[in-house]
Amino acid sequence: MSEIRKGYVRPLDIKHGRVDMAHGSGGRAMAQLIEELFAHHLGNEWLAQGDDGAVLPAGSGRLVMATDSHVVSPLFFPGGDIGCLSVHGTINDVAVMGARPLWLSAGFILEEGFLLADLARIVESMAAAAREAGVPIVTGDTKVVERGKGDGVFITTTGVGVLPEGRSLSGSRARPGDAILVSGTLGDHGMAIMAQRESLGFESPIVSDTAALHGLIDAVLETGADIRVLRDPTRGGLATTLNEIARQSGVGMMLQENALPVKPAVAAACEFLGLDPLYVANEGKAIVICAAADADQVLAALRAHPLGADAARIGEVREDPHHFVQMTTGFGGKRIVDWLTGEQLPRIC
């Protein structure tokens, strides 16, 4: 047995090391980073092929492909980190199309000087998220930018899934009379991040809701209910996503404020900062629009799933040539729930 000596390569110092330009230059350092850090955690048969791309079986049906770039500060936050977030985010984009997510790719842009220990934590978290979701990362890429030109790490993931025959979900399919449901509490992710910001910092029990939703969505689709639209209300929150759907479908909506699920701590943090939870980001919630007759069945299916325990029916689709999303307030009045204007900023003085 020709034992090739494992030596002559000094192992990566993950504990104390930092990303340097060599890790992105295509040489031995890069190969080592990929092998000892990325492949070590993410390893699967497709990555092991070691080629420029992954060779995957082409099944029947139509493919759904979605991509999402992830930038988040801080990189580690209560309830998750950029690693699992980048896996969940793209799985959710594929899943809300009604497709079964099969594979992911991951592209990393690393900033020179970034701690390898942090990178390892992030990649480990990605691996765990991918494993749990049953969606392997089959190909990837790494680039390094000079210090000061990145924010530690940016991760772009692309997901591919298969859409079964006969299924068609789109933001353009909402019809007047349809019921609007949401799978759980609003604003958890955005407020978990906001609480960590140095300038606003407060202590809170709020954790990000980052999660892969394909299991929950499967449960909804398996009911056989007439599902028109599925979407995950991420940036811009519920309000922005509903406005997108209203415009795409050419309809209006009427929400019931009292029905909107919001955790008390999220509501309280929003009070401190003058924010509206309807506009705060979620990373593990789905909006379901379905035929009104099927709403109870869908709600039951959502609530039966661990990620949908706080699901609620929050309103209905209406005819409206102006495509307004409106709300009956808990106070008994009416108002528009408008698109988000610009970036959401605390409003305090």
Binding site: S204, P205, F272
Partner: protein, 81 residues
């Protein structure tokens, strides 16, 4: 808009500071503008400062007044808009 909210003081800290709690959210604020604040008091918090103590008795009076009005009006049929 002078956003300010009532929150309960749960801890007094050095440097005329205090920790307030609102539904589990906690924030360190300054007490430099108020006097005689104790743990348990509710203060009106604005940009990290307590503006005033909230008077619980006055709050109860105001609420009682609201409730009284609701009670007095039950005979009236609801009016649609």
């Amino acid at each position: 808009m002078c956003l300010a909210i009532p929150a309960q003081v749960i801890e007094l800290r050095d440097g005329d500071n205090a920790v307030v709690d609102l539904a589990g959210v906690r924030k360190e604020i300054s007490l430099s503008l108020v006097e005689g604040v104790q743990v348990g008091d509710y203060v009106i918090v604005h940009v990290g400062y307590a503006l005033n103590k909230l008077d619980p008795e006055e709050a109860e009076k105001t609420l009682a007044l609201f409730a009284e009005m609701g009670g007095a009006m039950v005979e009236e049929p609801p009016v649609a808009h």
